[in-house]
Amino acid sequence: MLACLAVSLSAVVYPMYVIRPFRTQGARELAAALVVMRWRPAITVISAVLALAMLACYWRSQLRRWRRVLAAVCAGLVCLLAALARVNVYELMFHPDARPAFRAASQVKLDGREKVIAVKIGGSARAYPIRAISYHHVINDVVDRVAIVATY
């Protein structure tokens, strides 16, 4: 049970520790953190299933109430970590624009001095105001039937 808790905790905390703003990321630790991030949803679910199975066995074999409660708390924490492993902290800070909408330039009320990132593909011209894209950071878009990602 404690091993499950340690594995899940490491899978959640290590990438958060390495990949956090205003901290230098070394190449090797970043690579390790990204591997952990990629696999942690599966790792933490397996860990949670194992923890719940162990809790069931423990509940039947241990008669002392405090031991049962301690095991249940541990299993609960492992399940909580499995849920946390699916949370994208960066998208909590900078909410994505999942369904970007666009308006004709003539209808947009935007200060002429505002900066935009502009692309032109085929005959279609698109502008992404920096005030918005510097918040969302990533816009998945299709311009003139070409799929692009605009990022700032």
Partner: protein
Amino acid sequence: MRLTFHLAGINNQNFLMRDEETGTYWQQINGLAVAGPLRGRQLTLVLSDELTFAAWKSEEPAGTVLSDVPKYVAGYARRDWDVRMKRAPTVIDFPEHGLKARDLMLGIQAFGASRAFLYDQVIREKLVKDRVGGEPVLLVVGPDGESVRAFRDRIPGVDGAPDFYRMGGNQAGAGMMDAATGSQWNFQGCAVSGPAKGACLERIAMLKDYWFDWRNYNAKTSVYGR
């Protein structure tokens, strides 16, 4: 395969994206896959401009603009966000060429070389004639005095250096003329009158970035005027 990207992390203050189809992590500045199944692959760069809305709208009146998401507008950046961010700390620094970590640069990767231009210097000079990887290039400030584009300094079909200069000196809004053909050119890099009318200069992709970030991904970069 079409990929859908999400903001997923940060690498020395340059964002990482993750695509939901393969789970690959991509570096924002260069579109390189740094981890995951597509590691080593590179996204194709789409030529883009950073312009004032007025300059863009005057060129593309039929264009479309990303709409605000009303519930997040309160969190949107104020104008001159990149200038305001100059006060923010950095986690890496390259104290070279007398540059500060958050000096705003215009970076070009072309012709086998990378070269950076201090944004404020380009704005002051209005028309920069330089070389990147031995190839002559032009950096031109737009009529708004803030937008900048880069071009290859060669007129298609004309031998030799065109020798561009600004008409009306360094005033905002001034167009360009080339000494080789005597043609007049606009901010889009196209000849609007004279013998070369209709010809357009080749655009060069350029990235506006902080010095620390540009230098971090362009270790061999040279710097204009330094």
